[in-house]
């Protein structure tokens, strides 16, 4: 038996909620879910307080966690939340490392953990679609496809095996295959609203429709987008498009020697990406990102502060790593791949820079091997080596949007490196290439066990946002500590509209207050 909830049992309370009201809410949650699925003890909450952001975990400490598996349960839960003013922070698989992990934006929110809501509801092998619940992981979906011999591929982010499509897509995360822009490949959503109603988007509202997972827009205003990176509803089902397995898969790398080559890399490869010759979300990884996948920084440098350029030159020479390392792939029949391979290698040769490395040359070596896996949606956690580069558990993604033009990448790269160096941190970065945009992904790595370094990392991140903002650059996604500052970059009108929607859809403000800076 779980102990009765009393005021004394809560380490943290939701903001503005009395201990008595919270105890009553917990009792009501237990009636809905059973006592074993509503927990307030330290042991069960500990995993949700593990964060990598550069501020105290006390600012993100949940008051309770509850596990739900049914839509009806979630409907009943939001009714209780409205009655008592209890805010809930919903997670699907909760692997949002570098963006806040599984912890709420502000202390005291109750975590609604949907990991157990993990049914694969449908995979349509002919239409290449699936419909899944929030707790489904990429590993689980991959296993399902293999077990049923369905020739479809996934697209996953680097935390692949332990992360999941619903949570990732709701934060508009990305992968590395031709289906790497995950929200673009999402089709149909089911959402529990704050008033307890269940909304199905697109064709999903039409009784007996067979088109929910094939036609995104439905009729009238298209709503799926307002449920991503927001707090307007709780997603309980999501449809995805999956890529047919191609007959031939050809991953390759191109190594560039100098920092400034980033300009020519973009100018050479952008036309090929826009034309679909290179169809996948290729990456341009810098020397430290590349090195982190295979070794800790201490192998070459055990000082504090930024890694000196001389050390980076040594790493490049001894480990055979470029200043920039391109990873891309071709997909299709043998003939299609051959035609496109010639176009790419001719373009690289004509540019006079870059050494092309094939899978045959790379063999079983890392990081080529894990890149080849990610570009076909296979499970690998090799890239978590990034967290070992400096160690200490500190990591925040600074991810400004960039246009695919050499001039802009040179400016962003220079600016980021300069600001990071000011705080003794490293420029560990890659560009993930969309059609016309790039996600400039910078891992702000620091030793979180060192309070001074943590304070510097926090200050550094704020300055990165500010200085990039002054030049018209803003991040596509951010951790829970910097959601308000990031929201400000998009202007007061946007924030006001976000708030208007929030007040209309969630008048008591019970759903994840603070997400993307949105509150009532």
């Amino acid at each position: 038996m779980t102990e009765p909830a009393t005021a004394q049992t809560f380490a943290v309370l939701p903001e503005g909620v009395s201990a008595a009201d919270f105890a009553a809410a917990i009792a009501a949650f237990r009636t809905i879910l059973g006592a074993a699925n509503v927990l307030t003890d330290a042991e069960h909450l500990a995993p949700y307080t593990k964060v990598m952001v550069a501020e105290s975990e006390d600012l993100h400490r949940p008051s309770a966690v509850m596990y739900a598996t049914k839509v009806e349960e979630i409907q009943a839960i939001v009714n209780v939340c409205n009655d008592y003013g209890v805010p809930i922070w919903t997670i699907s698989t909760g692997r949002n490392f570098g963006y806040g992990s599984a912890a709420p934006q502000s202390a005291g929110q109750v975590i609604l953990d949907l990991k157990h809501m993990n049914r694969i509801l449908e995979v349509d092998a002919d239409l290449a679609t699936c419909l899944i619940e929030p707790g489904v992981t990429y590993q689980q979906l991959k296993d399902y496809l293999v077990e049923h011999d369905i020739p479809l591929w996934l697209s996953c982010p680097a935390p692949s095996a332990i992360a999941g499509p619903v949570g990732n897509t709701l934060d508009r995360g990305v992968g590395y295959t031709p289906y790497g822009e995950h929200f673009m490949m999402q089709c149909g959503m089911e959402v529990v609203l704050a008033n307890g109603e269940v909304l199905r988007t697109g064709m999903g509202g039409v009784p007996n429709s067979s088109a929910w997972q094939v036609f995104k827009w439905g009729y009238g205003p298209y709503l799926d987008g307002i449920f991503t990176q927001s707090n307007y509803g709780i997603c309980t089902k999501m449809g995805l498009w999956l890529m047919p397995r191609p007959p031939v898969y050809k991953p390759f790398s191109i190594r560039y020697e100098n920092d400034d080559d980033i300009h020519d890399i973009i100018e050479t490869l952008r036309p090929l990406r826009i034309a679909g010759i290179i169809p996948n979300a290729m990456v341009f990884a810098n020397v430290m990102w590349e090195a982190a996948a295979i070794m800790p920084r201490s192998k070459y440098y055990d000082g504090t502060g930024s890694t000196p350029d001389s050390v980076l030159e040594e790493i490049k020479a001894k480990e055979g790593i470029g200043a920039w390392n391109v990873y891309a792939a071709l997909y299709g029949t043998k003939e299609q791949v051959a035609v496109n391979w010639k176009i790419i290698t001719d373009a690289v040769a004509a540019s006079g820079k870059g050494r092309v490395i094939t899978e045959e040359e790379a063999g079983e070596t890392e990081p080529f091997k894990y890149r080849a896996k990610l570009m076909r949606g296979e499970m690998t956690l090799q890239e978590f080596g990034l967290y070992r580069w400096r160690g200490g558990g500190g990591s925040m993604w600074f991810a400004p949007v960039t246009v695919a033009k050499g001039s802009e990448t040179v400016e962003q790269t220079r600016l980021a490196k300069e600001i990071l160096a000011e705080y003794g941190l490293d420029y560990v970065a890659e560009y993930i290439v969309g059609m016309r945009d790039m996600h400039h992904i910078i891992d702000v790595l620091y030793d979180r066990s060192d309070p001074d370094e943590m304070a510097r990392a926090h200050e550094c991140f704020a300055k990165l946002l500010t200085e990039f903002g002054k030049r018209g650059y803003a991040v596509y996604r951010v951790n829970t500590a910097f959601m308000d500052q990031s929201a400000d970059l998009y202007g007061p009108v946007k924030r006001a509209v976000d708030r208007t929607l929030k007040r209309a859809l969630d008048p008591k403000g019970i759903l994840a207050p603070g997400k993307s800076g949105i509150r009532i």
Binding site: A46, F97, R448
Partner: protein, 75 residues
């Protein structure tokens, strides 16, 4: 089941050099379980929803009793 947990989750970091080698070190199961629940520095925490107590106990016991893989460097 413990072998599957190891293979699909733990081993992806702990046999690839991302995290330290755990096998053949006689690590106490309780210690392993504590680290898994709390996370430790670069290592993320795993909630009960991702790995229940029984599964965690089983994989911790398996790791604790495992032998060092041949060719592995000493920790």
């Amino acid at each position: 089941p413990a072998a599957i947990t190891w293979q699909k989750t733990c081993s992806r970091c702990h046999t690839t050099g991302v995290g330290p080698e755990l096998r053949g070190r006689d690590l106490p199961p309780d210690y392993i379980a504590t680290i898994v629940r709390s996370g430790f520095l670069a290592m993320p925490a795993f909630p009960h929803s991702a790995l229940d107590d029984a599964s965690l106990a089983a994989v911790a016991k398996m790791v604790s009793q495992s032998k060092a893989p041949s060719g592995a460097k000493n920790p």
